[in-house]
C-alpha cells in the first residue's frame, strides 16, 4: 500500500484531520475524567485563543516559537535525520541573542541589533548541533542519542553560566540584566494598534519566522543543496552513488537545523523577556517535532500546525483560569496525545482509508 494510491487531499488533509480528531477525542475523555464538561472546555479554549485581540496576539507569539523549532526539525527530516536537540540548540541560541543585545543595546537602535541577534542565535544554535552532526557523519553515532545528551549538557551549561558569568552583579536571580531599548524588538501592538493585541508579547520576530519559512522552502525545493538534502534523505546509498557527499550533507543540514532552532530565542529573549533567563525554552524544542510531523515537513504545513499549537498554548492558559480544575498541565497532555496520534500512530487509520478509497473496479480487477 503506497502513499500514491490516495488522492493528495486525503493524504495531506483527511488523515491528519482524523489523527487530530482522535487526539482531541482522548483529550476530551481526560477532561471528563477530571469532572468537567469537555464541550465547555473546547469553547473556552477556542475563545481564549482566537476570540479577542490579545488572545490572538498570544497565540501568534507562541506560534512564532513553534515555527522556528518546527522548521528546524523539518529541515533535518528532509535529510532523513532526526534532530531531537532543538531544545538545547534553542537554549544555547539564547546566548547569541543575549551577547548581541548586551553589547549593542545602549549604542544602536533595535533594527541594527536585530541582524546581529539573528546571526548570533543561528551561529550558537548551529554550533550546538555541530558535534552531534559531525559524530553522526564520521563516527556513525546516532544523532538522536547525541542530541538528547546535548540537551542536558546545554541545560547544565546555561545554569552554570547564568549563575556565574552572566548574572547581573548584586542580583540573586540567575538572569542577565534587562536589555535597553536597543535590545528590544517592537511589539506588534505598537506597530499595528488597530489589531488590539493589548499586552500580548507578539513581536516583529513573527516576520523573521515567516521569512525563515520562505527561505527554507527555497532552500529545500529550489536549490542544489536542497536537492542533495532530499536525495540523501530519500535514499542515502543512491545519493552517495550519485556523488553527494554524506559527511557534507549531514553536517550542513544539521547546522541549518540547529541554526533555525537557535533563532527561536529571538522571539523569547529579544522579543518578550528582554533578558536571558533560565529555562526559557520549556518544551518548545520537543513540540517542534510534533509541528514538523503534522505540517508534513512543509513550511506552509508548519505555519498551520504552529498556529494550532499556539492556540493550544494560549487557549489552555485561558482554560486554566476559567476552570481551575484543569491546570496548565492539560496542555502537555494534549500535546502528548497529538504527538502520539499525529506522529507515532500516523498510519493507524491509513489501511481503513485506503480500503475506502480504492475504487471497487480496481478491487474487482485485483481479484480477477
Amino acid at each position: 500500500m503506497s502513499a500514491g494510491q490516495l488522492p493528495r487531499w486525503v493524504d495531506y488533509g483527511l488523515i491528519p484531520f482524523l489523527n487530530l480528531a482522535a487526539a482531541f477525542l482522548v483529550s476530551g475523555l481526560v477532561v471528563v475524567l477530571i469532572g468537567e464538561n469537555p464541550l465547555d472546555a473546547v469553547e473556552l479554549l477556542v475563545w481564549g485563543s482566537v476570540g479577542y485581540g490579545e488572545g490572538i496576539g498570544f497565540t501568534l507569539f507562541y506560534a512564532t516559537n513553534f515555527i522556528f523549532t518546527g522548521l528546524a526539525v523539518a529541515v533535518a527530516f528532509h535529510a532523513g535525520l532526526f534532530n531531537i536537540g532543538g531544545e538545547g540548540q534553542a537554549y544555547i541560541g539564547g546566548l547569541g541573542v543575549a551577547f548581541a543585545c548586551l553589547a549593542l543595546d545602549h549604542i544602536v537602535p533595535w533594527y541594527v541589533t536585530l541582524p546581529f541577534a539573528i546571526i548570533g542565535s543561528a551561529l550558537m544554535g548551529a554550533a550546538w548541533a555541530f558535534i552531534p552532526a559531525w559524530l553522526q557523519a564520521t563516527r556513525g553515532s546516532h544523532v538522536v542519542i547525541t542530541t538528547i545528551m546535548f540537551n542536558f549538557i546545554a541545560s547544565s551549561l546555561m545554569v552554570y553560566l547564568l549563575n556565574n558569568a552572566l548574572k547581573k552583579p548584586g542580583s540573586m536571580q540567575p538572569e542577565t540584566r534587562t536589555f535597553e531599548v536597543g535590545g528590544r524588538l517592537p511589539f506588534l501592538n505598537d506597530i499595528f494598534p488597530s489589531f488590539g493585541f493589548g499586552y500580548a508579547p507578539v513581536n516583529l520576530s513573527l516576520f523573521v519566522a515567516l521569512a525563515a519559512c520562505v527561505l527554507v522552502w527555497v532552500l529545500i525545493w529550489r536549490t542544489k543543496l536542497g536537492f542533495e538534502i532530499r536525495s540523501f534523505g530519500a535514499n542515502a546509498t543512491a545519493a552517495v552513488y550519485a556523488g553527494i557527499s554524506p559527511v557534507r550533507t549531514i553536517v550542513i543540514t544539521m547546522l541549518i537545523s540547529g541554526g533555525l532552532a537557535g533563532m527561536m530565542a529571538i522571539n523569547e529573549i529579544m522579543g518578550s523577556q528582554h533578558r536571558l533567563l533560565i529555562d526559557f525554552v520549556t518544551g518548545y524544542g520537543f513540540v517542534g517535532i510534533a509541528v514538523a510531523l503534522m505540517g508534513r515537513a512543509h513550511p506552509v504545513g508548519i505555519v498551520l500546525a504552529s498556529i494550532l499549537f499556539g492556540m493550544l498554548y494560549q487557549g489552555g492558559a485561558e482554560l486554566s483560569f476559567e476552570m481551575p480544575n484543569i491546570t496548565r498541565d492539560m496542555i502537555i497532555v494534549i500535546q502528548g496525545l497529538v504527538i502520539l496520534f499525529a506522529g507515532a500512530l500516523e498510519h493507524m487509520f491509513r489501511p481503513a482509508i485506503v480500503k475506502l478509497f480504492t475504487p471497487s473496479r480496481a478491487l474487482a480487477a485485483k481479484e480477477a
Partner: protein, 322 residues
C-alpha cells in the same frame, strides 16, 4: 576519611538503584529492536501510580503493583505504536514522556490538591530499610563493620532487587531460549520470522518486561526513596539510564557498573557542593550533572571502545507480503 568513602558509596547505591532498574528495562526493549526514549515517562507514571495507590491503601506492595501497572500500560502504548502500527519509535517515546509529565501533574492536582504531589505516605505505605542479620553487632568492627553495616545493610528491598535483577537479566538474555530469540529479533527479525517465531509477540513481551522494570524504578522513587510523589520527580533519570544503557553497550553487567558510576558522580556532586579542592578550587555542581552525558557522547564518538546498538533497533519490522 574511610567513613566519608563509605557514606559516599552508600548514597551511590541508593542513587544508582532507579538508574539500574530503568537501564535494565531499556536493555530488554532495545535488545529486541524497540528503541525506548520513553523510560523517563514510564518511570514518572509509575512513581505517581505507586505514590497514589500506596497512600490510599497504606500498602507499599500494592503501590508497587500499581506503579508497574501504569508503566506497563504506557509500555503497551509504545508497543502498539511502534510494533503494531510500525510508527516512529522516537516520536512515540517523546509522546509518552509528554503524556506522563502532563497526566501525573494534572491528575495529582485533581485528586489530591497539593500542587501535583501525592500526600505523605502512611505507615506501611513505604518500603522500609532492611537491617541485615548481625549488622548491629558488627558495627564497631573496623573496616568490615563499615562495609557490612553501613554499605550493605540498611537498604530497602527494591535496592537489593535491582542488584539481583542484574545476574537474572544476564541469565534470561544469554542462557534461555527466550533470551536468544529476543536478541535475535533485535539483530535480524527476518531470520526469526523465517524460523516460524512471531516477531510481534516477542517484541511485545520485551516491551512488557521493560514496562515492569521501569515500574519498579518509578515506585522506588516515590514509595521507597521518598515518602510520596512529587511533580517531575524523575528529573531526567530516565535519560541518564538511557545514557547508561549506551555506555554499557547493551550488556547487563556493564549496565550495573555504568549506573554505579553515574550514581557515584551524583553522590560526589552532592557531597562536593560548596567545597573547595586544593589547587583546583570549587568544581561547579553542574559539571557533575553534565558529566554522565559528556562521558556517553565521548563513548559514542568511539574514543573509549565502540557502542554498537542492536542492528535492528529502531526499525519497524514489516513482514513481506506476497
Amino acid at each position: 576519611m574511610f567513613e566519608i568513602v563509605i557514606l559516599t558509596l552508600d548514597s551511590t547505591v541508593r542513587l544508582s538503584t532507579p538508574l539500574l532498574l530503568a537501564c535494565l528495562a531499556g536493555l530488554y526493549s532495545e535488545r529486541s529492536g524497540v528503541v525506548d526514549i520513553g523510560l523517563e515517562g514510564k518511570m514518572l507514571g509509575a512513581a505517581f501510580g505507586a505514590g497514589a495507590v500506596a497512600y490510599l491503601t497504606g500498602n507499599a506492595w500494592i503501590g508497587l503493583l500499581a506503579g508497574m501497572a501504569v508503566s506497563i500500560g504506557l509500555a503497551l502504548i509504545h508497543g502498539f505504536a511502534s510494533i503494531t502500527n510500525r510508527g516512529n519509535q522516537i516520536v512515540s517515546g517523546v509522546a509518552i514522556n509528554f503524556l506522563a509529565a502532563g497526566l501525573t501533574a494534572l491528575l495529582g492536582q485533581t485528586w489530591f490538591r497539593q500542587g501535583g504531589r501525592t500526600p505523605s505516605l502512611p505507615e506501611g505505605g513505604r518500603f522500609r530499610d532492611i537491617i541485615l542479620p548481625y549488622a548491629e553487632e558488627l558495627r564497631d568492627v573496623p573496616v568490615i563493620g563499615g562495609i557490612y553495616s553501613e554499605l550493605l545493610s540498611g537498604h530497602n528491598i527494591l535496592v537489593y532487587a535491582a542488584f539481583v535483577a542484574v545476574p537474572l537479566t544476564w541469565w534470561v538474555l544469554f542462557r534461555t531460549r527466550f533470551g536468544l530469540r529476543l536478541r535475535a529479533v533485535g539483530e535480524n527479525p527476518a531470520a526469526v520470522d523465517t524460523a516460524g517465531i512471531s516477531v510481534t509477540w516477542l517484541r511485545y513481551r520485551a516491551v512488557i518486561a521493560c514496562g515492569a522494570l521501569c515500574g519498579v524504578a518509578g515506585a522506588y522513587l516515590s514509595i521507597a526513596q521518598s515518602s510520596g510523589f512529587i511533580k517531575d520527580m524523575t528529573a531526567g533519570k530516565g535519560f541518564i539510564a538511557l545514557a547508561a544503557l549506551i555506555f554499557a553497550k547493551w550488556k547487563p553487567a556493564n549496565a550495573m557498573f555504568a549506573c554505579l558510576l553515574f550514581g557515584f558522580l551524583d553522590a560526589v556532586a552532592i557531597r562536593m557542593q560548596g567545597q573547595k579542592i586544593p589547587g583546583i578550587g570549587e568544581i561547579p555542581v553542574q559539571f557533575f550533572q553534565a558529566l554522565p552525558y559528556i562521558l556517553t557522547v565521548i563513548l559514542l564518538a568511539g574514543f573509549i571502545g565502540k557502542a554498537i546498538p542492536p542492528k535492528a533497533a529502531g526499525i519497524p519490522y514489516l513482514k513481506e507480503r506476497s
